[in-house]
């Protein structure tokens, strides 16, 4: 049936990574959509059951199709205004106050003139 060739294993590993990233994004999206925390817990467990229902599928092509379906439904349900941590890329504080390049020194003499 499924020979443990390197290509097959590499493909399965790539699929597992896609599934993990998809689950991560879907969970964060659920957190964005759920206003109250108890709603989030409910929705998160529903999401987890949806992922777990397909846990034992072995056929690679079916797995690919399921992942594609999952990503399509994730793209459909993406929140328009997600919560991004302020200093992360896309947040409001991102590169707000970048550190100045090293070696630059500002000398404050307040316009003091040396001609007295």
């Amino acid at each position: 049936m499924s020979t443990a060739s390197a290509a097959y294993l590499a493909r399965r590993a790539a699929q597992k990574e896609r599934v993990r990233i998809l689950y991560r994004r879907a969970l964060k999206d659920t957190l964005n959509w759920a206003v109250h925390r108890h709603l989030f817990y409910q929705d998160a467990s529903n999401l987890r059951e949806r992922f777990d229902a397909n846990k034992d599928v072995e056929d690679i092509n079916i797995i690919d199709k399921l992942i594609a379906d999952g990503e399509a439904s994730y793209n459909k349900w993406r929140h328009p205004d997600p919560y991004i941590v302020p200093w992360a890329p896309g947040g409001s504080k991102f590169t707000r106050n970048p550190t100045p390049p090293s070696g630059i020194e500002i000398i404050y003499n307040y316009g003091r003139e040396d001609n007295d």
Binding site: K16, R20, R24, V85, A88, G91, T99, G103, E105, Y110
Partner: protein, 132 residues
């Protein structure tokens, strides 16, 4: 006049890049060290500060212990999520998201995939300047 200049100096001082540490502060102005230390903290808020590693480990371990699917007695600072604690790969994702919420910062997706045991999580958090 001197008081106004001193006030301006203290306000503007936080813009100064801490190049050589003490030599600039003490030599040029002779400000009291108390003032300089408080201003140094203000400017570090911009750059962020690294958290203490033992404190990070304690908080990470407490977060993992509060996880429902984990046996609290098995959690040690050297535990691997999937091998030692018997978690699924999706559970690992959930734990990483819980750590992000605890420390209040964001991990990019490709980095989050690589965190598989507590030690790596502690290293990542301790080396991230904005981890609160």
């Amino acid at each position: 006049m001197a008081a106004a200049a001193a006030a301006r100096a203290t306000v503007l001082k936080h813009l100064r890049v801490a190049v050589a540490g003490g030599s600039l502060h003490g030599g040029q102005r002779g400000f009291p060290w108390l003032l300089a230390n408080s201003l140094r903290r203000f400017s570090e808020e911009v750059r962020g500060s690294f958290l203490d590693k033992s404190e990070v480990t304690d908080r990470v371990v407490s977060v993992v212990k509060n996880f429902q699917k984990v046996d609290p007695s098995k959690v040690t600072p050297e535990a691997h999520f999937q091998n030692d604690l018997g978690l699924d790969s999706l559970d690992t994702v959930e734990v990483v998201i819980a750590l992000e919420e605890e420390f209040g910062f964001e991990i990019p997706d490709n980095e989050a995939d690589k965190i598989t045991n507590i030690k790596m999580a502690v290293d990542f958090i301790a080396s991230h300047p904005q981890a609160k």
